[in-house]
Amino acid sequence: MSDLTRRGFMKLTAGATAVGTFGFPFIARGAGKKVVVIGGGAGGSVAAKYIKRADPSIEVTLVEQNTNYYSCFLSNEVLAGDRTLDSLKFGYDNFAKHGIQVIHKTATAIDPVAKKVTLDGGTVLEYDRLVLSPGVDFKYDAIPGYTEAVAQKLPHAWKAGPQTELLRKQLEAMKDGGVVVIGAPADPSRCPPGPYERACQIAHYFKQHKPKSKIIILDAKEKFSKQGLFTEGWTALYGYGTPDSMIEWRPPSAEGKITRVDADAMTVYSGELDGATKADVIAIIPPQMAGKIAQVSGLTNESGWCPVDKATFESTKAKGIHIIGDAAVAAEMPKSAYAANSQAKLAAAAVVASLNGTTMPTPSYVNTCYSLISPDWGISVAGVYRLEGGVIKSVEGSGGVSPAKATPAQRKREVYYAHSWFKNIAHDMFG
């Protein structure tokens, strides 16, 4: 027996009936520790890796329905024409070397009592602990006229891959002087600064190739992430605040909240007055909810997201299931790739501790999000959090956004660091 297991065993015999620090008794499952991870994205891939890294004796199986992962973060650069979609494409070949089995099937059902996961095709996987990182699915019933079929014509591109390609092709095909509408959703949503970075990257493309074109953001929110910084960049680079501004932002108070869509007429209606905006390209980001598997397994609440214990990310609706990433209710952390990465490591620690009967480490959480206003202008938001009274709270005096009125050199450095963040997080996931 390794040192780890022996220590774990001693702890168990000493306090087998003791209730764990977070209210759930850590019951020994004896020999054979099986973990199933559903979802091989920003959360799941990392959870699988870090569980195996901490305790190679745990059997880890990753269930991911797609053979390739396309990173949505940095996909706005594809829309600008500055990056290929291929550079965002990742495979799962390296997982075998880490001793993780990858099954490319869709999980269709979870039985939390029997501790079983059913896959498309009928395979059943047993688990001692389950990590669920299913990402988001779209509420296609939220905006009249916007359906799943319509999304093939009006791409949200809020999951990267074919949707990203479709949107890029539409932007390329658009005539100079055309109009793009970006529909920005209400909070909470995947990637809060994303829609605004999208406007930047498209504006960057237009500025060079289609300078008479316009971008209109129809927003369900009165304010948005890094707003001051985006506004500063838009003003400096894209004429914001002038009659010739390439970007227009309409919050609900300026009739910006989308009420319905007429895809055939390429028209979006918004505001209390139901005003019409005709456009050449319409990229509405619809409201989201936790991924389908979480919905059908009874792991969500009325909000459509998954409530969890913030110390371990264990579902409050089912024991033995840890839910991380966009699908989880983890405010004050945003729904971001970095947050998923951070939560994955915490959940991994919780899973390993519970399987071995050892104490959970003190939770610590981080988020850093970069947005690229142009190839030379980067901005970021950072957050360091800790657990206070069962709630994730930003550590006072820390975190925040890039300083306003930074020098061009500083903004350029942030671009370098944004690209570094991407490469490192991708390596952490797929390396």
Partner: protein
């Protein structure tokens, strides 16, 4: 994904199990792991610019974090992050990263500049940045194999005065630039970045 990039992962299981880092109530691994998104798995960055922090001495780490926290060392984001940790947590991270291996990845460097840089570094930098910048002693940091853009940013900050240089370093650089011109800085950083 190159073989070299994969090795930082292969190393970890062995490292953790053998050194017993994963002990009960162990927070330092979790604390340090949250840095991987920018600084790489186990602190070895795959670039292009965010620095590798693996293998840094405790002294260098603590000095850097203190500098960021107090604003005496310029940063784009580290000031905001360091303020989120207690001194105790930072110490734990320093200990953790000091035990990680600095993994070097291939970088695009100019062979002529590297050659010139080696001569210059041997003469002007080696006394404090020993063993071609591999040895981290008295807060000298590990320069060998560090990401080129990061080395450039550091030198820009030193030369502008935004970041304070130790007196010995200031003298050495003045002497080097005096002899070999301002281009000598680029040669030296290329040399260090190119180290395997």
């Amino acid at each position: 994904m190159t073989r070299k990039m994969r090795s930082s992962w292969a190393l970890t299981s062995a490292l953790l199990v053998s050194t017993g880092v994963w002990a009960e109530g162990q927070s330092s691994s979790l604390l340090a792991d949250t840095c991987a998104g920018c600084h790489g798995t186990n602190g070895s960055s795959v670039g292009p610019a965010s620095p590798t922090i693996a293998g840094m001495s405790v002294e260098t780490f603590l000095e850097a974090m203190k500098g960021y926290r107090t604003g005496t060392r310029p940063s784009t984001i580290m000031d905001r992050l360091t303020k989120g940790y207690t001194e105790e947590q930072i110490k734990e991270m320093a200990e953790y990263f000091s035990k990680q291996k600095f993994e070097r990845f291939p970088q695009e460097v100019d062979a002529a500049k590297v050659k010139a840089g080696k001569k210059l570094a041997d003469e002007h930098c080696e006394r404090c940045h020993e063993d071609g910048g591999r040895k981290d002693e008295d807060g000298s940091g590990v320069l060998a194999g560090q990401w080129l853009p990061y080395l450039r940013f550091s030198m820009e900050d030193f030369q502008s005065g935004a970041r304070e240089m130790p007196k010995k370093m200031k003298k050495a650089i003045e002497s080097m630039v005096g002899e070999a011109g301002p281009g000598s800085i680029e040669s030296v950083v290329q040399y260090y970045a190119g180290q395997k």
